[in-house]
C-alpha cells in the first residue's frame, strides 16, 4: 500500500507504521494520522526530512507548521532540535498532541 515511500526506503516510516496500525484497528493512532494527512500539503515540502522523523519530532513539526508561518516557509528540522525541541515537546505532551 505504501510503495511510494517504500520504494526509497526498505522499511516503513513512523507515519506509515502508525497508518497501518490505525487501519488495523488501533484507534490510538487515528488522531496522529489525521493530523499528518491534514497537513500533508505543507509537510511534504521536504519529504526526505519528514520520512526520517520519529513521531514526537513530526508532531512538533506539525504544530510549528500550523502555528508559525515563518517556520513553515523555512522548514528546517535542525531549528527545532535541542532546547527548543524539549520545550515544545513538553508543551505538546500536556496538550496530548504528541505520539510516540
Amino acid at each position: 500500500m505504501f510503495a511510494s515511500y517504500s520504494a526509497e526506503h526498505e522499511t516503513f516510516t513512523t507515519f506509515e507504521r502508525f497508518l497501518e496500525q490505525a487501519i488495523a484497528g488501533n484507534t490510538k493512532y487515528v488522531p496522529y494520522v489525521n493530523r499528518v494527512l491534514d497537513n500533508a500539503h505543507r509537510l511534504c515540502r521536504d519529504r526526505n526530512a519528514i520520512l526520517g522523523m520519529d513521531a514526537p519530532t513530526l508532531s512538533i513539526v506539525i504544530y510549528l507548521s500550523e502555528t508559525q508561518e515563518a517556520f513553515f516557509n523555512n522548514l528546517n528540522v535542525a531549528q527545532i532540535t535541542g532546547e527548543e525541541y524539549q520545550k515544545v515537546l513538553v508543551f505538546l505532551k500536556e496538550k496530548e498532541l504528541v505520539f510516540e
Binding site: 517504500s6 515540502r45 519529504r47
Partner: protein
C-alpha cells in the same frame, strides 16, 4: 527425444525464475495471488511431464506454450515489485483504465527497459497469450484472479512524471486491442474508400491508405488500422493530459511531416490532437465518436482532467488534490510549470533547469502520493 530433453531444460529454467520470484514483494496483493497462480500451474506441469516420459510433439508444444505464458508474465511481474514499480503513475493509469472497462479485473504491470525510448504496450496477453490461457484453464481448471495489462517504460525514466505520460497513449493501445476498435473501423473506412465515399475521402486526408509513390492503389487495410490506432491512442491520452503530451511527442519526432509505415506524420497527429483539445471539427474524431459508443461500453472521447490554476509548484508545494479529474490534471500542470510557469516563481527562476526538473517531478510525485494515502485513509474510515 531431444525435444523432451529440451522441454525439461525449459522447465528447469522456469522453475529457477519462479524460485527467484518467490521473494518478490508487491504493493498490490492481487499480483501476489497472480504469482501464486503461475506457481500452481508450473507445479502441475512439472508433475505431468514427469509422469509422461514419451511426450508427443503436440504435447510438447502445449507445455512450451504454458511455460512461455509463465515466463512472459514473470517478465512484467519483476518490474512491478515494491522497489521498481512506478506506483504513483500506475495508480493514475489504473483509474484511466477503470473509466473505459466494464470488467474491473485488470491490473497494470510494468517492465523496465534499458532503452530510453521504450514506451509501449505489449499485446501478447490479448493475442497469443489469450489462447494459451484458455488452454491452461481448460487443462487445469484454474483461473487467474486478475488479467494483466503489460506496459514497458524506460527504467531511467521511471520517476519522470513529465515524459512517462506517454503511457496513457500506450494504455489506449490496450483498450483498442481489447475491443478491436480500430480494426473494425479500418474495415468500415477501407470499404468506404473502395467505393469512393465522399466522407471517407475526407478522412483519407489523415490516412494515406497506400504507400507514397506506389502505383498500386489497392486499399491497404492494415495501414489504415495502424494509423487509426495511433490517432485513437493520442486522443485517449489527450483526455487526461492536455497539451504537454503533444509538445513532447512533437519534439521527439522533430515535428516531421513524413509518414512511417505504421505512424501518421507528427504534424497530422498534432492537428487531430489540437482539434480535439479545442473542440474543432475533425473527420477522424467524428468517425471515432460515431462508433465508440457501440463498440466500447457506451464511451466517447471526452476531457477527463481538470486544468489546475495554482502557484503551488512555484512555491515548492505539492498540490492538494480532491478528485480524479484533478489528479490527472497534475500532469498537465507539471508540464505548464516546466514549459513556462517556472518563470513566475522566485524559487524556480533562480534554479538551473536540472534542479527545476527534479523539483517538478518530486512535487508531482508528492501530490499524487498524498492523494493516494488520503483516499485510502478516507475509504478506510467510511
Amino acid at each position: 527425444m531431444n525435444d523432451v530433453r529440451l522441454l525439461h531444460l525449459e522447465i528447469a529454467q522456469t522453475g529457477k525464475a519462479l524460485s527467484k520470484a518467490q521473494n518478490n514483494v508487491y504493493s498490490n496483493p492481487e499480483l501476489t495471488k497472480y504469482q501464486s497462480f503461475l506457481t500452481e500451474i508450473f507445479s502441475r506441469i512439472q508433475v505431468e511431464v514427469q509422469q509422461q516420459p514419451n511426450l508427443s510433439t503436440s504435447e510438447i508444444k502445449k507445455y512450451k506454450g504454458f511455460l512461455e505464458f509463465i515466463f512472459k508474465n514473470l517478465e512484467y511481474l519483476e518490474g512491478s515489485t515494491l522497489n521498481f514499480s512506478p506506483f504513483e503513475l500506475v495508480f493514475c493509469l489504473n483509474l484511466a483504465l477503470k473509466d473505459w472497462l466494464d470488467d474491473q479485473n485488470y491490473v497494470i504491470v510494468t517492465n523496465l527497459s534499458n532503452n530510453i525510448k521504450a514506451f509501449h504496450f505489449d499485446p501478447w496477453l490479448l493475442q497469443n497469450g489469450a489462447q494459451i490461457l484458455e488452454d491452461i484453464v481448460l487443462n487445469y481448471d484454474e483461473k487467474p484472479n486478475v488479467s494483466l495489462v503489460q506496459v514497458t517504460l524506460p527504467g531511467m525514466l521511471v520517476r519522470d512524471y513529465l515524459t512517462s505520460i506517454v503511457l496513457y497513449h500506450e494504455l489506449g493501445h490496450f483498450v483498442d486491442e481489447k475491443y478491436k476498435f480500430t480494426l473494425k473501423l479500418s474495415r468500415i473506412l477501407g470499404d468506404a474508400l473502395y467505393f469512393e465515399d465522399t466522407d471517407a475521402i475526407k478522412k483519407s486526408d489523415f490516412i494515406p491508405y497506400f504507400p507514397e509513390g506506389s502505383l498500386d492503389k489497392e486499399i491497404n487495410y492494415e495501414r489504415i488500422k495502424d494509423y487509426l490506432s495511433e490517432y485513437f491512442c493520442d486522443l485517449f491520452a489527450a483526455q487526461y493530459l492536455g497539451k504537454g503530451y503533444m509538445e513532447y511527442l512533437f519534439y521527439v519526432t522533430e515535428g516531421s511531416s513524413r509518414h512511417s509505415s505504421r505512424h501518421p506524420s507528427s504534424q497530422l497527429r498534432k492537428k487531430v490532437y489540437n482539434d480535439f483539445m479545442e473542440d474543432e471539427d475533425n473527420p477522424i474524431i467524428h468517425f471515432f465518436q460515431t462508433y465508440l459508443p457501440q463498440e466500447i461500453n457506451g464511451k466517447i472521447l471526452m476531457r477527463r482532467h481538470d486544468t489546475i490554476h495554482s502557484t503551488d509548484f512555484g512555491d515548492l508545494l505539492p498540490l492538494e488534490i480532491t478528485n480524479e479529474a484533478t489528479l490527472h490534471g497534475v500532469f498537465s500542470y507539471g508540464w505548464d510549470t516546466w514549459l513556462g510557469g517556472w518563470k513566475d516563481s522566485s524559487y524556480l527562476k533562480t534554479s538551473p533547469p536540472e534542479k527545476v526538473y527534479s523539483i517538478i517531478n518530486n512535487l508531482m510525485e508528492k501530490s499524487i502520493g498524498n492523494y493516494i494515502v488520503n483516499t485510502l485513509w478516507k475509504n478506510h474510515q467510511s
